[in-house]
Symmetry: C2
Subunit: 563 residues, 2 copies
């Protein structure tokens, strides 16, 4: 018998935790470290604070002397801006909740990393997580678990103490396998230090030994800035929402007090009083009273309804009755000046000014050229666009090649110097070359590719070893499925006199974007978007040429010495 059921997003990720990378004790221990470290670095980056992050992994008391897999407590502490205590329960207790849903480069993007780590801890040990947030002279400590079925936090206890300092500390107890995860965790910390040379990072291991990376530069990169979308990435849904935002959500109940003051208390006949006082009414009150009249609502009932949108083409008001969540539609009556007022509110801006106002790097002339290409009239009011016209507009936006390349202030690449310094400090190679490609975009999301090649010196082993990064996160799994590997594999290294299987070579690739096209929720490898592949290929070829020159010079020098 078919019983329909809804599951919450936390229930979905509980049942399908492999999708989020929490598939077994080894991988989960690694993921817990990375999710917390990435959160700490994101927080410091966005506040311009030079990061100090310390990671401690200790056996839990009850697991002393037992074999892996066993209970560990992972604690990550930072000197970041911390979190306002009232936001802590939901930030850590709710999946699909966070601050990184905007168009700006950050490591996090899904709103679920930290909560997944807490979830895994809970389902393997039934122990709570401990969150300490220190700022404004206080430390607030939350001991919490998750209501997985309802996607809500369960706060077991909450306390506050006076304390100086600033930062966040998260502690999670989970069943992990450190004997298997150890190498990956160490590599993750070391590679994070490579790509974030302005950060202090420390790892304390269960055995008591520790790994410490001091910062090798004191200059923070500029924090990335939130930008408007680029027109080339726009699908119909995004375009419709931008139009909707422009026309404005019509929050009728917000004007209630003013409506009472300006209209209702002057008489019972709403239509008559409003008409008489029309010139003195504010725009919001005009809109509110027009809606009351169209929907036949009393002033007292105006909080019971939410206006969804006004359809100027059909002359209808779409609204939701808040008590039962039902959608409803009302035809607008032919009563002036109310009807005309609502129509002009609903019609919104002209298409031309809408384009200039809502997209990055679109000025009046760019907009005009685009409208000509799309075959649309820039004077048309956006609220009057038909469904087909909106689709044509989005479609033309995807195909038009005349837009300027994206604005890269939303990105925060490492920069050639910092990348070279990081590579030298970790590999101590004989030769390094780095390159930063110009900003490009895939599906309208700006991105920059940076890469470096290192040869000889302290590099061990034979053959090319690839170190992949995305938004300053080291990617340590599924190399064979990643676009960077594909590019390196397809380069004809012999042409550069480089022996790709024999020489001691390290290649570092870094892609930064407002949206990294990961193929999995566990952020392990990147899809082969053609624009990204193109930039990587050009970057690697450039580096291959530079290495080639170095090797031939070295070869010539050796030849010269022999004579």
């Amino acid at each position: 018998m078919s019983t329909f059921m809804e599951i919450s997003p936390s229930e979905f990720f509980y049942r399908n935790r492999d999708l989020a990378g929490f598939s077994n004790p080894t991988r989960a221990l690694y993921m817990t470290v990375r999710e917390l470290v990435e959160n700490s670095l994101d927080a410091c980056d966005s506040s311009g604070i030079l990061p100090e992050v310390s990671v401690s992994i200790r056996e839990h008391d009850d697991a002393q002397g037992m074999p892996d897999p066993k209970q560990y407590t992972v604690s990550v502490r930072d000197n970041g801006p911390a979190i306002d205590p009232e936001h802590v329960p939901l930030a850590f207790g709710k999946v699909l909740y966070g601050t990184k849903f905007t168009l700006r480069q950050s490591r996090g993007m899904f709103g679920l990393g930290a909560t997944m780590a807490i979830l895994y801890g809970q389902i393997t040990t039934n122990r709570p997580a401990v969150i300490r947030t220190v700022r404004d002279g206080y430390m607030h400590e939350y001991v919490m678990m998750l209501d997985i079925q309802r996607n809500k936090p369960i706060i077991l206890s909450k306390s506050s103490d006076a304390r100086d300092g600033r930062g966040l500390e998260v502690s999670i107890t989970l069943v992990g396998d450190y004997s298997k995860a150890q190498q990956k965790v160490r590599d993750y910390i070391a590679q994070t230090a490579l790509i974030t040379p302005y950060a202090d990072i420390m790892l304390e291991e269960p055995s008591g030994s520790s790994l410490s990376f001091r910062r090798i530069m004191d200059r923070m990169p500029n924090p990335p800035v939130e930008v408007k979308p680029h027109p080339a990435g726009i699908d119909v849904e995004t375009l419709r929402r931008l139009i909707q935002n422009e026309i404005g959500s019509i929050a009728m109940h917000e004007a209630k007090e003013r409506l009472i003051r300006e209209v209702a208390r002057h008489g019972d006949d709403l239509v008559g009083v409003a008409r008489e006082r029309w010139d003195r009414l504010s725009k919001d009150v005009r809109t509110a009273v027009s809606l009351l009249i169209m929907l036949d609502l009393k002033v007292e009932d105006m909080d019971k309804v939410r206006i969804d949108r006004i359809d100027p083409l059909a002359g209808e008001v779409h609204y939701t009755l808040l008590l039962d969540g039902e959608y409803a539609t009302a035809r607008m009556k032919d009563i002036e000046p109310f009807r005309s007022h609502l129509l002009s509110i609903a019609m919104g801006d002209t298409l031309l000014s809408f384009l200039v106002k809502n997209f990055q790097r679109v000025g009046a002339s760019t907009a005009k050229r685009f409208l000509e290409y799309a075959g649309m009239d820039g004077g048309k009011r956006i609220g009057m666009l038909s469904n087909d016209e909106i689709v044509r507009l989005a479609d033309a936006m995807q195909r038009h090649s005349g837009f300027l390349p994206p604005d890269a202030t939303c990105l925060s690449p490492i920069g050639g110097d910092a990348l070279e310094a990081g590579i030298r400090s970790i590999f101590k190679p004989e030769f390094v070359a780095v390159v930063q490609r110009p900003a490009s975009a895939y599906s309208g999301f700006p991105f920059i590719v940076e890469a470096g090649i290192a040869y000889g010196g302290g590099i061990e082993g034979k053959g090319i070893r690839l170190y992949r990064f995305a938004n300053k996160i080291p990617l340590l799994y599924d190399e064979g499925s990643d676009v960077a590997w594909k590019v390196i594999d397809e380069i004809d290294w012999a042409r550069y006199k480089v022996s790709a299987d024999e020489m001691p070579i390290a290649i570092v690739t870094h892609i930064c974007s407002t949206r990294i096209p990961y193929k999995t929720v566990g952020k392990e490898y990147i899809a082969d978007r053609p624009e990204i592949e193109y930039e990587l290929k050009n970057a690697i070829r450039f580096l291959a040429r530079r290495l080639s020159i170095h090797l031939s010079r070295k070869g010539n020098l050796a030849m010269a010495r022999k004579r």
Copy 2:
């Protein structure tokens, strides 16, 4: 400035639609076909109806004569049980909503496939989907779109007509690229016919040509049955929920009327009246009045509270105040017989009978052996288990090797005959061998591996071609990352005198399970769980031996003829 935001699951999958396989017009067109076909076959399978599924892909009127990618309308119709009309809006308009969250083999598992296809159609064309459900003498038609931000359906229109017949039809208009997707769509339909030899499947293409597969057997496999979980897969969260279910959710407000009748109307002193009438009270009323007394609630207020659980160890009642969703805890007062009654309700069954009742293939002796291994007392009441004891129990369940192999009635393999018939009908080979491995389990989820090898005859090309299936779904992407490919790659074919790169060989692998460990939401390839890899390896080796025998016989025959 950090603004915390929540996004709905549909918003998550809209922003991250690559994760669900809807990354571009080619892939999306393929995914739309497969999500709808898989739904139709699931519906027929679970009702024991011999499936008739017809797929039509037509250019949309507005796209006539335009180049790819362009608007197509994909319609999939079946003769299945259809859906009760009142369930249609949520089934298709809500992500994470469906009927396949149970422990039973089905193609679907996430509750989002059809909704994702409708979503992609909406964001590329802004057109609604049309759902027609025919049963009980009526056809009900829904024309709908999605409120992506709120994860709710938007019903544009709804109509009903008298009509005979039974089944469901879904039509979605989306921007697709049939010139690129065509081969994959045809392969998908052909391979679905191979693995579902009891189904009639038809595909009508935009050009007007059609592909039709008639069923080659009239016998349906037994529909899979829902089973209890197997103990070996149990994590702490699942165990806690099973214990919670056993103790029973205490729905206080359900007893309100009876409480009023049996107690409240006999006097104002709740404690006194309840004590006096105790022997005549039903169990639910005893529980309800005890809770009222412990929480100091009036009878009128009993709907305002939801009892979450009673903690018999701590002597506390955990409840939620429904008005504001706040959690609260009350210590139980020392008032009898109410306190003792609540304690005995909360203590639940003995551990021994809990195990026998809640897990598949666990009888009293299996349970006793396990409890001995876990070092726990079978007489202990489950409501009295401490946190640590629950964790120890789950842990012991994962390590204990004395459980019987899982119950396979929840599985519905194709069977050797049907697999062989399907292979012969599609490949027309010179030789076929098939094998079905015994049921096994990974993480407590039962699974069965079936495989077939075909050689020569109508098989084209050189070298092994792999056809992968999971729960009767053809998997056409990411072969290189799949566990089946890994196994085939690692077999030493030369040992079987099989030239893996030269001979015309087709290998078919089919894994069926109550939960396929896909690595992505798009269900493209399967994780290399050791238990699954083991069964695949044994199956392929068996088939390699059978082919080897055939080839040597064939070789001997040829030799004999030559003499």
